[in-house]
Amino acid sequence: MNKYIYYPGCSMEGSARAYAESLSQVAKILDMELATVRDWNCCGATEYLSINLIPAYSLIARNLAIAAGQVNGTNELMAPCSACYLNLEKADYYMAERPALGEKVNEALAAGGLHYKPGSLQIRHLVDVLVNDIGLDVIKSKVVRPLTGLRIAPYLGCMVPRPDYQHRWSDHEYPLELDDLMHVLGAEVIDFPLKTDCCGGHMSQIAPETAYELIRRLVSEADEYQADLMVTVCPMCQMNLDAYQGEANRFFGTKYQMPIVFFTQLMALAFGIDAKSAGFGLELVSAKKALARIGVEAPAPEPASPRRKPDGLPMPPHRRKKYASGREASDEKIAVAE
Amino acid sequence: MTAKPKFAMYWAASCGGCEIAVLNTHEKILDVDANFEVVFWPVAMDAKYKDVEAMEDGSILLTLWNGGIRNNENAEMAHLLRRKSQILVAFGSCACEGCIPGLANLSPLNEIFETAYHTVSTENPQNIHPQVSYPAPEGTLTLPTMNPVLKTLAQVVDVDYFMPGCPPESHQIAAVIDLVIQVVQGKAELPPKGSVIGCGDSTVCDECPRTRNVKAITAFKRIQDVAPLDPELCVLEQGVPCNGPATRSGCNARCPRAGAQCIGCYGPADDVIDYGARLITAFASVVDAREPAEIEAILDGIPDPTGQFYRFNLADSLLRAGKGAAMSRPNAITSGGKP
């Protein structure tokens, strides 16, 4: 029994449900005990650290402090999401590296009766754990339905192997752990050259055209290699490449249909789990055709929810408009402006 | 009265073994009586301090002093006998280098009293703790005051000769007595002042008959764990920490010959600056390992290195002797980094 303290992060409960579901299946088969961090909170994702360090680190360190309190036979904290993993590791590293920062963070934590001593947890990413702890041999031994014939583009994204504070990865630019893992599942693994390139990240929110280009690069390259699907280890990569693939296609006038799935989904399939339980059917670019190549029937897609109107309250009028008009806009006008 | 030279012997902080050793010279003791007038020897005859005080300074030819200086009575007597004696001999390990009583220097006085009077090995139902003075109906009774540390005789008064051993071997005592008698009779000369007498000038190994080889020690063991000890081979080479290599000869390697390790009672050999340091370096040098963890594992076989290396010599060790110097250093704590 391999024990880990498990930090799920928000994606696992939202957009990356397929990741969460397949992971729980895989963990069961591989005899991994995952003890979820009690009352965990947001890791701050990719944005908060660039805004204000102390509260951002405090936010992360709260999870570390709680997890450290949960140490029971293991001090290994595992996160499947790249951003969560990086943030947790970063906080642990910089709290030790910059004692002044560590002190301030602990001061903040003290308000909640918490304290975190940097270095008391080992922070690991799921792929690292699977390849280096569980081991490829064990994983191979659990394969009952080899993915023979399935061409896979393994894609890690930017945050998992870099900066790799604890030197856990074979290489930062071209790590082969995920390739090896897919290989033992029996799949045909392409030597995907863009495995650590950017997926576009939050550019899809603030500069969609930039994101589209980044998405196009990845998807077109996988297509060039005639991959049946791309596997990813990161909820954000999955989200960007899957949800915005259509937009990118429209933008460039292309017709890529590259399914983007989590690597755990393929593990689950290979371990003999049915496609639905492995989280298939949740993806937007259907993996149906790809799965058919290995004789797996993909579940019917969930009925798409009707497209909703934008959430929330109406916006105030644009400030520039206000000054351009040279007069104060009345409250009523604001209310009806949208 | 005869014109025989006067002889004294005194027993300070020590076990009394030295006195037994003198008596163990058997008929030789008669030579002492024949050649000397024993004027003061509390363990053998009745005498009062005031009798000594009444003597003329320098009137005693030879005083054998055994024991360290533990309390103010010892110190007072040391000064007194120094004044009264022409030749003052630090007799035995306690007087020379502190010996077992000197090990108490590793603990502060209150701890020593605590251990002596209030630990489980002491039956003390009334929880008695001794007082310096006691107002008895007949008048105030006083006891000597303990000094903070035990000192060697030479740390308190000028000493003419040192005679090591715990106790000094009887044949060595006999030889020294013979020598003094010959000197008295004008047939021999005294050795230079400050000499160590009644012993050899090399180390125990010199008198040890065991075979020695190039040493490489892979484990230190207690002697009872080496069974059976090879009777022909160097004890140290068998992993038993034997202090012989650094210890002065003179005992005729009594312990190694008897199948036990030398524990160092004859003290440092000539040219030895710190007895313990010599053993630290000698033992560590022949440890057969290079990795710190391996070395530590081998060193674990010497559970009490301080005791092993300073059992007899602590009160006279470099570190002990230097403590005063360290204390008197004008202000080690300087301000603003200005030494």
Partner: protein, 663 residues
């Protein structure tokens, strides 16, 4: 020790211009020494602008003569710089040189501290330490040991060959040991040499032949030094001569065995993995010696017990499958290490795709590719062996000047890359891009060569290449290797599609440099290169007397520099040989036999076997000719029966006292 007589000591404090006086109050130190150290024997204390100047030295000499000084303490720079200067000066005035000591108040005080008051106090305490110590210094006489005139040169690359030839030509015997089957080293693999574009083999092979036939050179290839003991003048060296399975006495080097050998394997060594060789082989046509070796792990006979084609066809019956490795012991007076370098493994820079992308080549691969004796006969082609490239990118500083790999500059890569560019353009007419960080062409005629390559139309892009990829973004990139780089002169990111990429990978210390260093008793810097005795003034000597280093063993170098170092090391060795004797520092241990009880603790202390146990007398004895003066046995003796000259217990105890004297 010094009963009632304190020797007369003179203290001299150097200003070293402002080097010392800028941080240490020299006047204060002098006054203090005069007053406070008077009771310790100081009779005169002076300060002077430059003690090491001839006027400064004369000052000391004059005082020795006029004041009858018995000891001299000079507070100046490190003893490693000027100890000899002052000892010689004192000796001129009639004082035994070992009665003069230097106190380092420059390297250890003025240069490393800033607060003048603190620095001055520290200087005083250091002076005090040495004043106390020097009272116990004794006059010593240098010992002389004869020098064995034979020399061992390790490594048969161009530096080693040069060194061996220089010494051999001077009439002394040299053992040249090389672990490959042939001498020649890396230079034998190259096609052209920069900047003259000489054919590498054409200029190298005459030297190889000379070394191979020189009556004063014993050539030992396919051999390795396994053990070295002894010291300058008399090193005992054990050499492993690996079995060649060819009897060198009868082999004529006709090559029939190679021709007839039915098995080919990839030649990862000489051909850098681009070509093949037979199992019984000489690495290249001009190999010296010409005897082949049998590659035992690949030989069909050794694997399966059959074949023996080579044996059957050998006209002189030189094949000897029963040959075994043997050890040869030699004695030499001096050793030159010219062990060279390893090429940086370009595959470590994963973003350049070496080993993954077929048309990415390492520098040594390109050397073989362009070599007319190479696998393509000098045709420059892509990995398919046919296609000529139309565009070639050459990337500089692969693994060098990169904190992820090696911080140092490999010094030859700029010139090597220029040479590649020239060859590519000359032979294929392809467009060539050079991607460089800085161009470094400082030696004779190097920059002119750079200009020439510029004029030939090679395109230079200044910037560190981010990656080499086959992932095309645009149609024109399809099927190409795309070099992604920030062009720092234009200020833009560029993607340059090429057919072929050549990585100018740099040099690394030999993978076993540390181990070799330990065999010879020399050490490596943190980068792994051997440390010179002095980086500027003594670049071919090491801290170990009698061991010299030349060529790339000390750091990246080009051919002229390696040759110069080989010759320089040889000159140093000849200097030693011609002196016939070597002066040894008289720092020695000796046993006071009356105090020695023969416990034999010290017997295992000496790695030079200088301590012998005299069974009859039950004492140990130090052989002064073998003693190197480390003092380990002195510190180990439990009876205090071993003394060490120059660093006696009394000296060190007194120095401790002095250092801790209240200042």
């Amino acid at each position: 020790m010094i009963e009632n007589h304190k020797p007369k000591i003179g203290v001299y404090v150097c200003h070293c211009g402002s080097n010392i006086a800028g941080t240490v109050n020299v006047d204060d130190v002098r006054k203090w020494a005069q007053e406070k150290l008077g009771p310790e024997g100081v009779v005169i204390a002076r300060d002077y602008k430059f003690m090491c100047s001839s006027l400064g030295q004369e000052l000391i000499e004059k005082d020795i003569k006029e004041l009858g000084l018995e000891r001299v303490v000079v507070a100046a720079c490190s003893p490693h710089l000027h100890e000899k200067t002052f000892r010689t000066a004192a000796e001129k005035a009639g004082l035994n040189p070992y009665l003069t000591e230097l106190v380092s108040i420059r390297e250890q005080v003025s240069w490393v501290h800033t607060d003048k008051a603190i620095a001055t106090e520290k200087a005083k305490s250091l002076v005090s330490g040495t004043v106390q110590r020097i009272a116990y210094n004794t006059p010593l006489e240098k010992q002389k040991v004869p020098i064995n005139a034979n020399t061992l040169v390790v490594g048969g690359g161009i530096a080693g060959i040069q060194a061996a030839l220089e010494i051999a030509n001077a009439g002394f015997h040299v053992y040249l040991v090389e672990r490959e089957p042939s001498i020649g080293g890396h230079m034998a693999q190259f096609d052209k040499t920069f900047p003259t574009l000489d054919c590498s083999a054409c200029i190298l092979t005459p030297r190889m032949v000379e070394a191979g036939t020189h009556p004063n050179i014993t050539l030992m290839t396919w051999s390795e030094v396994t053990n070295v003991s002894g010291f300058v003048g008399n090193f005992d060296v054990r050499i492993l001569k690996k079995a060649r399975y060819v009897n060198e006495d009868v082999c004529t080097g006709c090559g029939i065995c190679t021709e007839k050998c039915p098995k080919k394997v990839i030649d990862t060594h000489y051909e850098a993995g681009l070509g093949y060789r037979k199992v019984v082989y000489t690495p290249f046509a001009q190999a010296v010696p010409r005897f082949p070796v049998i590659d035992r792990p690949n030989c069909t006979f050794f694997q399966k017990g059959t074949c023996k084609a080579c044996e059957k066809f050998c006209p002189t019956n030189a094949i000897d499958f029963k040959q075994e490795d043997e050890f040869i012991n030699i004695t030499v007076g001096n050793i030159i290490l010219a062990t060279g370098y390893d090429l940086f493994d370009a595959g470590r820079v994963t973003n350049y795709g070496y080993g993954r992308l077929p048309n990415v080549f390492s520098s040594i691969e390109f050397e073989r590719l362009s070599n007319s004796a190479g696998p393509t006969g000098g045709e420059i082609t892509l990995r398919d062996g046919k296609t000529k490239p139309e565009t070639v990118g050459i990337i500089h500083c692969v693994g060098s000047r990169d904190k992820n790999f090696n911080n140092y500059c490999s010094s030859i890569c700029c010139m090597q890359s220029l040479k590649f560019a020239h060859i590519v353009r000359e032979r294929t007419g392809a467009d060539v891009y050079e991607f460089y960080i800085d161009m470094r062409t400082p030696m004779k005629a190097y920059d002119e060569f750079y200009q020439r390559v510029l004029d030939e139309g090679t395109l230079f892009v200044r910037g560190k290449v981010a990656e080499v990829t086959n992932a095309a973004r645009y149609p024109h990139e399809k099927g190409k290797l795309i070099i992604h780089v920030e062009d720092t002169l234009v200020g833009k990111q560029r993607r340059i599609p090429v057919d072929m990429v050549i990585l100018s990978n740099g040099m690394e210390p030999r993978h076993d440099a540390k181990q070799t260093g330990q065999t010879f008793g020399i050490s490596c810097s943190s980068d792994g290169w051997y440390i010179e005795r002095h980086p500027k003034l003594d670049p071919v000597s090491t801290m170990t007397e009698g061991i010299y280093i030349a060529g790339c063993a000390t750091g990246p170098k080009d051919i002229p520099a390696s040759v110069a170092q080989g010759a320089a090391a040889a000159a140093r060795v000849l200097d030693k040989i011609l002196q016939k004797e070597v002066e040894m520092e008289p720092i020695r241990a000796s046993v006071i036999e009356e105090n020695c009880s023969g416990c034999r603790i010290c017997n295992s202390m000496c790695p030079f076997n200088a301590i012998a146990f005299i069974g009859d007398l039950k004492v140990s004895r130090v052989n002064p000719a073998l003693c190197q003066g480390c003092g380990t046995c002195v510190a180990a003796c439990p009876a205090g029966a071993i003394t060490g000259t120059g660093f006696s217990n009394e000296q060190i105890f007194a120095q401790i006292d002095g250092l801790l004297m209240t200042v």
